[in-house]
Amino acid sequence: MLRFFASLANPTRFAGLADRLLPWLAGATALAFAAGLYMALVIAPADYQQGESVRIMYIHVPAAWLALGCWTAMSVAALGTLVWRHPLADVAQQAAAPVGAAFTAVCLLTGSLWGRPAWGTWWVWDARLTSVLVLFLMYLGVMALWRAIDDPGRAARAVAILTLVGFVNVPIVKFSVEWWFTLHQGASLTISGSAIDPAMLRPLLVMALGYLLLFVTLLLMRMRTELMRRRLRRMALVAASGLAAGTI
């Protein structure tokens, strides 16, 4: 396994592998979403309490899972950058951040659209909503830091440190907001964590699989793009320095 990861340090080998995998992954993603959407919109029953609006769950909950999962993946890649100096880990971190931000945005917006019919309000300062909002802000911070530092190597190490600090911070934020929410008992609404009926769980899991496949597909594609961008950048730099030296 370790040797496999080490062999991926060669960009050409990674590119070859990614190019072979991408069509299959894209196809699997499309299939999973097709099946998941059919199950979520047609087969799954309406909730006896919430009615049809429970169907928003099938796009909302997996987005929340992936929003957290993406930060975890970024933290692993951050370790890869700081500890093992794996060149691909830098690229993985950079490629993952916008995808995670998109999942978090989906989670927040669909949550808001679900909250309106289910609780009668667009936004509740509930523990989960607030922690996801903080997570979203941290994704934006990571993306801003990527953009601010020119040198990709330096940017990768700085972002890696921020990602790891954020990884420690997310559970702390979750805990503090939960504590804070119980202090402010005014709002009576909490998202019920009740057991889910199998008829609803199955579509949810299929949709989650679709989200996961979409994440992997997007990650690989964006990593490939980033590797090509860096290669072009290097070529441009070499050409420019060649011009300056008068060799061409």
Binding site: R157, I161, L162
Partner: protein
């Protein structure tokens, strides 16, 4: 080594005092923030009194962020940062010393002045003790979290805004427990101990995490 660290703290304090942007300017900024609050919230005495702990805490957070972007940048510009890295004391301790100096110049005067400014927000002076205690315990955590952000943005010319964006989400727990403890003290004193203990714990955790993270960030710029 302790002597060298104290020398560093003294140097930073002297610099802060000479350049300006030291204690006085931070306090003026704090005062202005407190002064504009009634214009936004209205002059209702009861409302202001209830919101006073929150307003003072927010003002403390913003005033701490002020000037934090220069925490390592000034040293970076004049080459002192390279000297720190070559010196035989760990960079983590240098970060800690600089954070201490920053706190002595901003957090400490802020915390002590808070009851005085609180008077303008209809905050009872008799309840000032717990408020000052929460600020004294909590503002070091804000400075330390800010030190991480300052180290990450050390090489950027205009890092100030980015620094705030990076630091604010990390400061959410400190704000929650700081305001909760200060608020509990004003509303009868019940429920003060728990958030205060957690606030203390957050500061202690940051005391360990922040120097390590900030030093790693400073080193990463050099490679």
């Amino acid at each position: 080594m302790m002597a060298a660290l104290w020398a560093l703290v003294r140097r930073d304090l002297t610099l802060a005092a000479r350049i300006g942007g030291g204690a006085e300017l931070g306090l003026v900024f704090f005062l202005i923030l407190v002064a504009i609050m009634p214009f936004a919230l209205g002059p209702d005495q009861v409302l202001l009194g209830r919101l006073a702990p929150a307003v003072l805490w927010l003002a403390a957070l913003l005033a701490t962020l002020l000037g934090l972007d220069r925490l390592f940048q000034a040293d970076e510009d004049e080459g002192a940062l390279d000297q720190f890295m070559l010196a035989d004391m760990p960079l983590e301790l240098v970060v800690l010393a600089k954070a201490l100096a920053h706190w002595l110049a901003t957090g400490l005067p802020l915390s002590l002045a808070a009851p005085l400014f609180g008077l303008m927000l209809n905050f009872e002076p008799a309840e000032a003790g717990p408020l000052v205690a929460t600020l004294l315990v909590g503002t070091p955590a804000l400075t330390l979290i800010g030190a991480i952000g300052a180290a990450l943005t050390v090489s950027l010319r205009r890092g100030g805004l980015l620094l705030s964006v990076l630091v604010m989400p990390l400061a959410v727990p400190v704000l929650i427990f700081g305001v909760a403890a200060a608020g509990a003290a004003t509303s009868g004193g019940r429920g003060f101990a728990e958030p205060f203990a957690i606030l203390l714990a957050l500061t202690l955790v940051m005391l360990v995490v922040a120097p390590v993270a900030a030093a790693a960030a400073l080193r990463s710029v050099r490679e």
